[in-house]
């Protein structure tokens, strides 16, 4: 948990009253939409098909139960009783009235939540591993560094008027759960041979119209130098970045056009020239931020409590435990992923009632803390193993114990044409149909880890390029069609998927995905060979043949 200081609170409150005034002037006609648009985007307010959409930041995916209840209340009071957790550790509300937005912001400000850095050409919410601070084998809590970067970049002039939006993700584990290779800057925290803590710095990753995997620009930057190094990257980007063409304005295009070596040289040059600009982090500054992250007072608990031994006789519990419960760095505790992907439901949506219930469960079983991951699921980071059976029963009662984490029905999907004004095609109904096709948990377990990612247009909010199976909505003569890619991945081995052939009409997508999965089951050389690994070994041909031979 993180304790905001007074400065943050003052800033957040000032922003709320500023926005209240701006909304008032917009509604009275004093501000035109052209003038107001920038201002609303700075406060996370977009226009979608049916209404305004309000995007709220959940910095590095950490929420207190109090904050989650505040989100639930916003959903209930100002929206239609639900919210949508996104792939960037934000939550979106889809039906908010502009006239009521200042009140919603004020309610959230009371619990230290805001919508800054969720839109516009600035530094966005710095994302992190949802298991930060609790993952076994982690170097240290990466959120300390997310927070240092957040403080430095919030409203900083160098970062507020960038050529385009800018996204940073940080991980401190071997296994990358933060998708750092598809961010503008990806930071991997590790200890070098001398035992010093620092970062491998990657730059130029991103999805969208022109997807790129981030490249390593510097293998090791000492922790104390990370702000000045990031600043050097931003300066080079600000200097060269294309402001004339939004499609070319992202840093990934610049890195691609200059080449990573030249870009790295430019950054190094800039870094040297900057000299000491007061950005070197004192040990005391790092420690100060570290001290504001509090960790629970864990008890000394047995590795295998009696409660767990008894519950192991219940196959339904065992299935959930085997799927959704993960090792914790402290003995006797677990990390529990709460799947927001029940069969037939829109991926990542949670009702206000569910949010309230999860907040209560977090109070009872997870020291009042909840995490949000980029896979659009929630997580309780500190659950004592003896409490797992009770927690499971409680989650099941509110429809949140679907044992499908990392399985074929744990689908990432953007809002698509049901909500989004930029969409070509729908995403959510495709996801819903797929969850029904693969609703049988035995089948899903047999298939094993398989990530399906769906975007309704090339902006790639649903990360389709890096799905093991990616589905991209396109439009052909006014009809919805979908391009299918396979073999992508978003983790430390990040890679773009390969297109298998011509786009497929809406009604056939679920059949095609079933065909691909069946082909995989027939072709894998052993049950442990994951779908992505089979695609890597076999290439796309056999899958392509299976899909198009009869179509």
């Amino acid at each position: 948990m993180y304790a905001y200081d007074e400065l943050d609170r003052t800033l957040i409150n000032e922003r709320v009253s500023e926005f209240r005034d701006q909304v008032k002037r917009r509604l009275s006609g004093e501000l035109t939409e052209d003038e107001f648009k920038m201002l609303r985007l700075q406060n996370g307010v977009y226009l979608q098909l049916h209404a305004y959409m309000f995007r709220v930041a959940i910095p590095y995916g950490t929420l207190s139960s109090k904050q989650l209840r505040a989100l639930a209340r916003v959903g209930r009071r100002y929206d239609r009783g639900y919210g949508h957790f996104t792939t960037r550790q934000n939550i979106q509300f889809n039906w908010i009235k502009l006239a009521e937005l200042p009140d919603a912001l004020a309610d959230l400000a009371e619990v230290g939540i805001h919508a800054m850095q969720t839109s516009g050409n600035n530094m966005r919410n710095v994302t992190s591993d949802q298991w930060a601070g609790v993952a076994p084998g982690e170097v240290e809590d990466p959120r300390i560094w997310s927070e240092i970067l957040r403080q430095h970049t919030t409203l900083h002039p160098e970062f507020s008027f960038l050529p385009r939006k800018f996204k940073i993700a940080i991980t401190a584990s071997e296994h990358d759960r933060a998708a750092i290779k598809v961010h503008d800057i990806g930071l991997r925290l590790y200890k070098n041979a001398e035992g010093e803590t620092g970062f491998e710095v990657l730059v130029g990753g991103g999805l969208g119209r022109t997807p790129f995997i981030g490249k390593t620009i510097k293998p090791f930057v000492h922790g104390r130098d990370i702000l000045s190094y990031v600043e050097a990257i931003l300066r080079v980007y600000n200097q060269y970045g294309r402001r004339d063409n939004i499609y070319k304005a992202r840093i990934k295009i610049l890195v691609h056009e200059l080449g990573i070596e030249k870009f790295a040289r430019e950054v190094d040059e800039e870094w040297k020239q900057m000299g000491d600009v007061g950005l070197t982090l004192d040990h005391s500054v790092i420690e100060e931020v570290r001290s504001r992250f509090s960790y629970p007072a864990y008890e000394k608990l047995p590795h295998m409590p009696d409660e767990l031994k008894q519950a192991a006789h219940d196959p339904l519990f065992e299935r959930w435990r085997g799927n959704s419960v993960f090792p914790h760095k402290v003995q006797g505790y677990s990390i529990v992923t709460i799947s927001l992907k029940p069969v037939g439901a829109p991926p990542g949506d949670a009702t206000s009632d569910q949010m309230d219930a999860v907040a209560d469960l977090a109070d009872r079983y997870s020291f009042g803390e909840i995490r949000v991951g980029h896979e659009q699921n929630l997580c309780l980071p500190h659950v004592a193993k003896r409490d797992l059976p009770q927690l499971w029963k409680a989650l099941d009662r509110i429809g949140l114990a679907t044992p499908n984490v990392n399985l074929v029905t744990d689908i990432i999907a953007c809002p698509g044409l049901d909500y989004c004004s930029l969409a070509n095609a729908r995403s959510i109904p495709i996801a819903q149909e797929l969850t029904r096709r693969f609703a049988n948990h035995d089948t899903a377990e047999l298939i094993g880890r398989l990530h399906i990612n769906i975007s309704g247009c090339i902006n790639a909010c649903g990360h389709h390029h890096v799905g093991h199976i990616g589905i991209l909505g396109v439009e052909k003569n006014g009809e919805e069609f979908y391009q299918i890619t396979i073999g992508g991945r978003a983790d430390e081995g990040a890679q773009m998927g390969t297109l298998i052939g011509p786009a497929i009409p809406y009604a056939e997508v679920a059949d095609v995905i079933e065909d691909i999965v069946e082909a995989y089951l027939a072709l894998r050389d052993r049950p442990e060979e994951l779908f992505v690994d089979a695609v890597k070994r076999l290439g796309v041909e056999p899958f392509k043949e299976r899909v198009y031979a009869t179509r």
Binding site: S28, G29, H50, Y52, T351, R397, L417, D418, Y419, G478
Partner: protein
Amino acid sequence: MTSPLQQKIKITGPSMVTANRTWDGVVIYRTAQQGWSANLSDAAIVRTSDEARTLLGEATADDVGAIGPYIAPVELKDGGEIKPGNLREHIRSEGLTIDLLPVPA
């Protein structure tokens, strides 16, 4: 930003002008009475590019009342009923094509 009026306007069939209402974001349609309605059935229908330009011009002039007006196609049924002319407008007019969250048991 280019104003919608500076863009070339060319329609190929019966069309209407639609936008979102400023204060709450609700989908609205420009009426023949120089107002707005949340019902597609009240929409003013235009058939030529000149008519479309004029209607869009009126709509755009109401910057306080509406946000992002644009021209969109409609389908006219035999009885004169107005239907959305494409899927996007269908979804804007009829709402989500998905069920909301299942009510937990």
